[in-house]
Symmetry: D2
Subunit: 347 residues, 4 copies
């Protein structure tokens, strides 16, 4: 298999680590650059001893410089950077002919004003938004194939959108009644020295945070609105729980009066029967993070409550996998004309 | 302080262990009997080495026999037994003149038919239901004082009811829009040899379960209905997370159009400003299980989402404390004419 | 790559699950039979939802019957059974022409009397012991290639033997001073419904067990004795800690008076510089289980204490990986003439 | 009970938090000052919401100024500060007539040169060393009663010394053969924003660290030497494991040839039968951290290995309890003429 020269920009966090985990053994990838301001000058296997003895792990972290990255011959760059920072280097890399898969929020929203509302500063590159594709492979494979700028979705949005989108497209549920409850592993908060993320502060702890207007709501509602064909505003209740990785989301919404609840299962099957990384558990089955951690799968089960006329959607994914690095590589594969599962293993 | 002779019936599970933890050092209690079919003949400190060197921990577990318990002179019995089993021994103990604090579900529902609907068998003692008081001390202190049979509430219900009841009583929220999302520590599932409760099956795992009709819904809706003055049916989404103990519940409901959101905070303050074991965190503050584990406190914070017109109630308690043993002792104290905090320590 | 028809006998425990994880995607393996008395009749992906959508996961568990296994055309069988049980089916499978890789203790000891001393019953198949090879691939690759019966080492022994063997062979340390201190994840205790393995009994807990004569001591001392050329008796202190998988072992021994401590590092390098699955961390570096979980690596660091004249060997492995399933597959690869890393991925 | 005016200097770390937990409800204590440079100006219940609603938790953190502390009328000060920093404020407080209980290492060693060897800088107050008492209450109750400066022992030393001291005093074991293996919860590393202490770096991880010359070795060997009457040098192997608190230590040493192993149990019983906070588990029993967390107990079990002629001592304590705050309060009680268990509860 021809190897595509690939860079990871911002590879020292947990998402960067997951991209390394996948790309170091991806048969269609030759890793030519990894960058990190903090770790520049160190080898991958020094920063992440887990990768010692992997072919390629002797590569040295460099400063994130667009010219230097381009000079390596890199054809594609993954960006695992904070929002705001990603846009600038994305532009520079696009100008130098690279394709860009951005895992930050910078290109996920179509509307710069919405970005400013949720992220608190003007959008750093509004002219690029038109070009960007919100990279949910199960929904936009064709657009992903055709673009040079993928905005890879966030971890919470993926776990909420994939179960809901088919139901909204088929007009089965009342959008205004949607409540999405999510629980995320601590890696979702990033790899930063912060008291609140210490072991003793997170272990034996569970707590809500980020209500009522978590930043991810903006992309969630954008995509739900597109699917519903009308403005959708939802309740989103994120929580932090003491697991390393994994998100479990339980979403509930009223079905339209008179609808047959079995249409829920049919809509999911119709949407995902052939989706390589969606596993439908069926009615009455709850998704469990431990079944998906380390994989690119999202598991989806559902139930119906006749007492409240509400559907209950239960999904689980690895926030670093299908919620970040795995999904980005899935898009990379599609964009590169490879089988979408290349290098993603099975678990 | 005069010591009340007290028995714990079914003291070998996690709730029994928490009752022991509290009652062994409770200045108003003399523990005269602890029963367990499985552990009969062993001393408390043999079954629970944690209690070694405590005065009273040399007491020996006996078989759960009403005559034998009465013969110890016990005036009050705590029952930490499975539902269905508790009712029978409760009756026998009541007939022998003991007061009973039952931590099972047997006396929580006023309507035997509802019990049968949710628990799958006819109520074992319907004639006793009228006498039983649903023992939420913050709501029914006077009735608790006057009864000889307390049905101590379940762990999920306590975390859902305490934040919601004042809002329903003051008619601030639309009952049909309530969604309660809970995460419970594994001790809530009991101390039983079951593959699904093994360390390796629960650690690094999070999952919904028991939807759409968890048994606790019956008592939750009964109490919400009483407070609202109309039939309330809600969505309840319980999850299991990898902590030993602690429940965090995030409940959301629409406020009635035009209501001032600050009335939420006022209603909570008005209800609980003087409640010894309710800590109001205020607006914008999330409750965290690690702040309440090992205590009888419930922490309650709230937020308002103007986008959806929904209030968000965030509560945390120890499922074994305020959700079980602590709350039962709080009722015991009230029933016995003691200060309600006696023996409950602060953490 | 030609696919070798392979069976897993006893595939419903944690070791069986790890063998499934590896073999379901092993390019040189066609899984033709998986057995489990408890799960017979269910599909792999029903027992282990983690494996849903894997090619081969629709295979159905059968009863462990030698004729039935042979009838599938299986050429090799992995046995993940309790000791005592494994020997019987091993014999039957060998008689039917299969090669056997046994992960139990049944064929690890050369001396039946030693087996009886440590396992409490007469050896079930003493005549087969001569044929069996103690399958440490780094030590006995040639014998592994030539045999049809591999006794794959236990988890503790692997973590203790690999660091110690080179030092004993080169006569650098005093055998009588060896103390090996190990901490194991809970999966090492097996997947069985046992109160002591419940989440709430293991979480926030650490404890020694199995002292002074853990069963694994027998194979550890057998191999140390072979390397030292004299009888070696050591202290072995195993502990249970709250992680799913992973063993960290810290072993200390006096070096012979006057020896240069740097010879320790040289001996390790000389032994393992070319070993695919041994990663030498060097002097002053401690091994960490999180760097090896999910892999077939063992990491080894060392330090010297001039105050006591003791070397400190620090090793980490995944008890299910290099300590069980991974190592067994490594031996399978060698035995089958494949590259020893086939199917083992890198993490 | 008369309340002694008490200050905690450096109360924002995990040890300070444990001191607060105990002292806020201690019937013989009136907390008059708590200091923290980082948290000055905030109330206790703002920094530690766990303590909300406790009487005294509205006290405000101040800067650590000796005059200001003395001006509160404080009679005793607990110091929970880094080594090096503690000595300076200790001197100032002693000069102002306060008694000082220092939980740092500054006054634990009798010899300033040893301090400099292990802590890397000259001792900050060598003239005070003579006055200081190494505060192991089980060993030095009389000296604790008489002093105004207590050096409260470290967490590892307590778990190692209490089992070993009686055996050395009775000359039962060979000092040169002692190997102490310890596993500590993460709170032992302190409450500081450090990448290596993040949840995702500690969870599912176990690792040795600090070998071969952990700072605590200095006080351990000082006390062992005093007990043995000869210079004792030992191997100490500390590890970090993923629990919030708790230390389990397994120590092994050869018994002198011909000694009756049962003398081990007798020596322990003779030393600790009347010790309020030592629980002897007996022969063949392993100590488990979960039995002691949240308490001031140390549990000690032992075993003998006739194969190696070694005793195995298994101890467990809460590193924040008997290993830090609990023990300091135990000394405070003794020093203040109170019952030594005052305010320490039982768990």
């Amino acid at each position: 298999m021809k190897r595509i020269k690939t860079a990871i920009v911002g590879a020292s966090g947990y998402t960067g680590m997951e991209l390394l985990r996948i790309l170091l053994t991806h048969p269609g990838v030759e890793l030519v650059a990894v960058t990190s301001r903090a770790e520049a000058g160190k080898r991958i296997d020094q920063v992440f001893p887990r990768f010692a003895k992997a072919a390629g792990a002797e590569l040295t972290f460099s400063e994130p410089d667009a010219d230097a990255i381009a000079a390596t011959g890199a054809e594609v760059a993954f960006l695992a950077l904070p929002h705001g920072v990603a846009a600038e280097i994305a532009r520079a890399l696009l100008e130098r002919g690279l394709k860009v898969i951005d895992l930050s929020a910078d290109f996920r929203l179509r509307c710069p004003a919405l970005y400013e509302e949720f992220y608190g500063h003007p959008h750093p590159a509004p002219d690029l938004l038109e070009k960007a594709v919100y990279g949910l492979p199960e929904i936009r494979a064709d657009e992903i194939k055709a673009t040079s700028l993928i905005a890879s979705p966030g971890c919470y949005p993926t776990s909420i959108l994939l179960p809901l989108l088919p139901l909204l497209r088929e007009n089965l549920i009342e959008p205004a009644t949607i409540v999405a409850n999510s629980m995320s592993g601590v890696s979702g908060a990033g790899r930063k020295a912060d008291l609140s993320l210490l072991f003793c502060e997170c272990n034996e702890s569970a707590r809500a945070y980020g209500v009522p207007k978590h930043r991810h709501l903006s992309e969630i509602e954008q995509e739900l609105t597109l699917a519903a064909g009308e403005t959708v505003v939802i309740s989103f209740l994120p929580h932090l729980i003491p697991v390393n990785s994994g998100i479990v989301t339980t979403t509930t919404a009223k079905i339209f009066g008179g609808a047959d609840p079995e249409l829920i299962g049919k809509a999911l099957t119709s949407a995902y029967a052939d989706a390589r990384f969606v596993r439908l558990l069926g009615r009455g089955k709850a998704a469990d993070t431990k079944m998906v951690t380390g994989t690119n799968f999202i598991d989806i089960g559902w139930e119906f409550d006749p007492r409240t006329n509400r559907v209950i959607l239960m999904s689980a994914e690895d926030n670093l996998g299908k919620g970040a690095g795995g999904q980005a590589v899935q898009s990379f594969n599609i964009m590169s004309g490879l089988d979408e599962a290349t290098g993603l293993g099975l678990w």
